[in-house]
């Protein structure tokens, strides 16, 4: 597997993944994400979507194909907020900068900026146990933002929060995508979420996961929450849904 530094982009070339127990999770996945692109992969549960992200991040080596990405400052937002319960919001947000050896002044500056970006001002000294699910996810986002990652991987991060919070977080994510200019790869099984945030939606089949359809999303940024009630939005969501139905 090669990891060549490219201009803030991520590309998969013929990725296949067969686990030691014989389960074939992914088959021949090839696509790439350029700077300024936000690609969402939707697929049925258990189709290997998360496996794809683990491969992209290097947590898992594929059994076939190769990934090209700069892993030095890769952003990865997990399904759970994965906050350290013994650290306050600020200490959690500073963790990655700490692991990367930043000085404390710099950490402070980065965490303050990131906390502002996700709207957690005033909660810096709270411990995770006193935060709502949405706020924990924001803290997790802020933690990733401190590194200013050129590539941002999202592994179904908003699956556990309620619908209204999820919509808010979707709006903020697309705003961050605009302001921070990262390349995004987002995994979800929510079609509305996929269409609302992305420049492109890819549909993955049931196991073994393959990309079976792709849809360009034509709406311009910043996207207004009202977009969700637009007939065009509904039409595109319907098409994605139809493609997804064909998978199972």
């Amino acid at each position: 597997m090669t990891t060549v530094t490219m201009n803030g982009a991520l590309s998969f070339d013929g990725i296949g993944m067969t686990f030691p127990d014989g389960t074939e999770a992914l088959r021949n996945i090839s696509f790439s994400i350029d700077k300024g692109e936000f690609i969402t992969v939707v697929g049925p549960s258990g189709c290997g979507k998360s496996t794809l992200l683990r491969i992209a991040s290097g947590l898992l080596d594929p059994t076939a194909g190769s990934v090209e990405v700069d892993r030095d400052r890769l952003g990865y937002v997990f399904q759970d907020a994965t906050l350290l319960p013994w650290r306050t919001v600020r200490q959690n947000v500073e963790l990655l900068a700490e692991l990367h050896g930043f000085e404390s002044d710099e950490r402070r500056r980065l965490s303050t900026a990131a906390i502002d970006l996700v709207g957690l001002q005033g909660f810096e000294n709270h411990y995770p146990k006193s935060l709502s699910g949405g706020m924990r996810m924001r803290t997790s986002l802020a933690r990733t933002l401190t590194l200013k990652p050129p590539v941002f991987l999202f592994d179904e991060p908003f699956g556990a929060v309620d619908e209204i919070t999820r919509e808010h977080l979707n709006e903020e994510t697309q705003r961050l995508f605009q302001s921070e200019g990262f390349a995004g790869l987002f995994i979800t099984h929510s079609i509305g979420e996929a269409v609302f945030m992305s420049t492109k939606v890819l549909v993955m089949s049931a196991r073994p996961g393959r990309i079976i359809a792709g849809f360009d999303v034509p709406f311009s940024y910043p996207r207004d929450p009202q977009l969700r009630f637009d007939p065009e939005f509904a039409l595109l969501s319907g098409e994605v849904s139809l493609a997804l139905r064909g998978t199972s």
Binding site: L59, T82, W86, L99, Y127
Partner: protein, 307 residues
């Protein structure tokens, strides 16, 4: 056997003349119970305190009542030395300084033994558990022995400890170590392995070193379990100190030696006082570790600490 009490306990005859005082005690307690709920309403803190204190006070009073019942009704005066009434224990055991100071001194000796043993067990336990968490091989090697250590009935190896280490403080400390080591190893190991996979992934992604992972992820994650283990082990260590005392009499006598002596002398008041003080030591140790736990991890960890 039956003739000894009269010789050994001439004081037991005094008791009959004092039936008045228990009644006074009881009414005093009843008074407190009536007044307690009448605290100013709205002061919810003291109200909940009363609510928390009320049931154990009632049960405690009932138990003291039962104690009196056994001392004065079940036991005839000739056999009352078997269970002296509470006020006698208070007068002879606690209020006669010669008796009480002796008990306190012995208790202090046992406390020292228990704390030294616990301290060594904590050091060994934390070290072993950390090693086990770092290498599966070490875990596989140590685990069966740790379980065996726990399975050995302590009384079975106590004579051997005396045989090897003499019958003094060293042997007593070793009993404490053996008896309190297992919960520390197991709880610490469990705690070190309790950090979620997602958190480990995060540290892996950002290329944290083994030491960084241990320091910033595994140790803090282990703290709640470590404290749970400490509280168990602290209690066991107190037991170990007293058990050790029973077998090893050389050097500074601990409370276990006193318990033995008072029992053989049929000194009921001092015996009960020693038992109460030993229990108090156990409770204090348990609370102390609960308090330390609250201090260290209470801010972020939601645990109910008794007391």
């Amino acid at each position: 056997m039956t003739t000894i009490p009269d010789v050994a306990r001439p004081a037991s005859a005094d008791v009959d003349g004092q039936t008045g005082s228990p009644a006074a005690d009881v009414s005093l307690e009843a008074d407190a119970l009536v007044h307690a709920p009448g605290l100013p309403p709205g002061d919810s803190r003291s109200k909940s305190l009363v609510r928390a204190a009320f049931p154990p006070l009632v049960l405690g009073s009932a138990l003291i009542g039962l104690w009196y019942l056994i001392s004065y009704v079940v036991l005839d005066p000739g056999r009352r030395f078997l269970l002296q009434p509470p006020h006698r224990v208070l007068e002879v055991g606690f209020l006669e300084w010669a008796n009480f100071s002796r008990i306190l001194e012995a208790l202090w000796n046992s406390t020292q033994v228990a704390l030294i043993g616990l301290g060594i067990a904590i050091s060994i336990g934390l070290f072993l558990a950390t090693m086990m968490s770092q290498a599966k091989m070490v875990e596989r090697a140590v685990f069966p022995f740790a379980v065996t250590l726990q399975a050995i009935p302590i009384l079975a190896i106590v004579p051997m400890i005396g045989f090897w280490f003499g019958y003094g403080t060293t042997a007593r400390v070793i009993v404490c170590i053996i008896i309190s080591l297992f919960p520390i190893i197991m709880n610490t190991l469990f705690g070190l392995q309790s950090a979620e996979r997602g958190m480990h992934d995060l540290f892996t992604l950002h290329r944290a070193s083994r030491l960084t992972r241990l320091r910033k992820l595994m140790f803090p994650a282990a703290l709640p379990a470590v404290f749970a283990g400490l509280r168990i082990s602290a209690g066991l260590s107190v037991i170990g100190a007293i058990v050790g005392d029973f077998f090893f009499g050389q050097g500074e006598a601990g409370i276990g030696q006193l318990l033995r002596r008072y029992a053989s002398q049929l000194d009921g008041e001092a015996l009960l006082t020693s038992v109460i003080m030993s229990s108090a030591l156990g409770v204090v140790v348990f609370w102390t570790f609960g308090w330390i736990q609250k201090l260290v991890i209470g801010k972020w960890h939601e645990t109910e600490v008794l007391g």
